[in-house]
Subunit: 340 residues, 2 copies
């Protein structure tokens, strides 16, 4: 392992670690707008256990029959992948890629977009719950395709509008502090094999668990030099001959994307990855997470007894004035140079 002492990038990451908590802060109740703004100013995450326990969504949506009734006859967009790897760095199969075999090699990694199709909501839900029962009972399911309703396009106010009245239209402390309404309210419905690969968004994010659990791994924006961002060729799954086939896209820009996984820290690491100190937090039903703008997050999930994992998140556009955004871009430029 290279000794990065005296290296400004290494100093940046270690000094951040020294000056900041090593765990996500837990609040007893929702913050006031001013208290929230202090976290925004520090770009620091927190979790409020049970903050949303009283929401109609949290009280009702764990009941698959209830959801089925609310959305009977609706068709919803479903992301389909072989292993839950929607929008994730994925090794091209040898027959499709360039024949590289080395585990750590980046050359055959592509940015895999899911196959997307509309499905009847009740069929989608039955698929999820049946697969989850099989997985639980070790009755198979490991080889089946994975389905995930994860359109991050304000779907709760559009695709799932019949459910929208069961969540608040905004999070009061965030609305008052940030002086804006959410750009998007997203509903996520999936199973235990779906994951969201490490990435970041230019949104202040309030994430609420509704059913099942989500397991977050978090890294601050300045850990960019740890995440091994690569320009991946885009590829998409499509259905063919009874299996999903991943094909490189003929056109389409390469996607800059983190290929380091903090849960597999020795693979595809940069010389800075070992300096990262990921924060881990699990959200259970009713828990609320403030995920600050530009923080990297990887998310895995567990299902409720009904066999589903459901969450809602609120995206508030981040503040682009001030030093955070340009400094984050600066670290990215330097980090990309240093880890080429």
């Amino acid at each position: 392992m290279e000794d990065p002492s005296g290296d400004p990038i290494a100093d940046l990451i270690t000094s951040f670690n020294e000056l900041n908590p090593s765990a996500v802060e837990e609040l007893d109740e929702e913050p006031s707008p001013l208290e929230f703004m202090r976290y925004v100013a520090r770009n620091a995450p927190f979790v409020v256990r049970g903050a949303a326990a009283g929401w109609p969504a949290v009280r009702r949506w764990d009941d698959a029959a209830y959801l089925r009734e609310q959305l009977a006859g609706h068709r919803v967009n479903v992301a389909v992948t072989p292993s839950g790897n929607a929008d994730a760095p994925t090794a091209m199969e040898e027959s499709e890629g360039e024949g590289e075999e080395e585990e750590q090699d980046n050359n055959n990694l592509v940015f895999a977009k899911p196959h997307e199709e509309d499905q009847l909501f009740e069929e989608f839900l039955s698929y999820l719950t049946t697969q989850e029962k099989n997985l639980d009972g070790r009755g198979g399911g490991e080889e089946e395709e994975v389905r995930y309703a994860q359109t991050q396009n304000d779907n709760l106010r559009h695709e799932y509008s019949s459910l929208y009245s069961q969540v608040p239209p905004s999070i009061p402390f965030a609305r008052i502090a940030l002086q804006k309404l959410p750009d998007a309210i997203n509903l996520w419905i999936g199973g235990s094999r779906s994951a969201t690969a490490l990435h970041r968004d230019s949104y202040e994010n309030v994430y609420v668990q509704v059913a099942g659990a989500k397991h977050f791994v978090l890294l601050p924006a300045l850990c960019q030099p740890c995440v091994n961002e690569r320009a991946l060729a885009p590829a998409s799954y499509s259905r063919g001959e009874n299996r999903l086939r991943l094909r490189a896209e003929d056109r389409g820009d390469r996607v800059p994307f983190a290929v380091w996984d903090p849960d597999v820290p020795d693979v595809r690491a940069t010389k800075y990855s070992h300096l990262a100190r990921p924060l881990r937090v699990t959200l259970n039903p009713g828990d609320m997470l403030y995920l600050p703008a530009m923080w990297y997050h990887k998310v895995t999930q567990s299902c409720s007894e009904e066999g589903i994992c459901v969450a809602v998140n609120y995206w508030y556009d981040m503040e682009f004035s001030g030093p955070l955004y340009p400094l984050t871009s600066f670290v990215r430029s330097l980090g990309s140079q240093a880890t080429k």
Copy 2:
């Protein structure tokens, strides 16, 4: 002029300029704690015209006779320099330095500390007002020594405690938002020849003009690559043979200090200096400036009709958690490398 396009440091400064206001924001009235916290979060300065117009200090301290009465018989610490250059990069005179003659040369620059001595307050004040009248009337004063009461050690609560009751003990919006009391409340009394050289502090700073005017030139922390920070040898003025003499200190660490002056932009510039976009704001009596932590500031001043310039500032310790402090240090490391 070197073209720095494609240079991450140049991109950092220009993208900050594009995303941020080109003037200090002006508020009609003091912000609420939440409104203030939004500025802290953006690390963005603002001025509130007349916010302190009702303070007893602002109503009374422009009257030199009143001040003299309040502090009669008190001895106060006075910084004495030949030209108002206390704590400023200063060229060693040839006989004392290494004989370098070139104007732009950095080698003969030292960090000049003032001669400090205790003076009877009434004598100090008479010196100021008399000098200022002479300067105004062109009756001389340009060659006389410059005196400035500028001890930044919480002097209003100690050295000048008889005046302290005439200002608030804290600024309410800052106390509530930052959840702390000021580390220091500083009183500044000087004349029009004193200046404070470009520097920065790790404090959230609320600056209130009491008498006369202060002229601020401000640069965000990420302009470090523009300010030409150099490790200057320390030197001090002392009285000798009817004049002030600047002597290098035998011991004492070098002082890292900005040697670029945004008011003389072509001298001692770095390749990035021309990218800086200084914000300028003048404070008149009763005006209040929020000067965010780590912003560079150069301050010059003008006197009231009484011939004095008086100000008070509140220093609140900055938040060291979050990304601002480590990222500021990171820019400094990279900036120092790039402008060596």
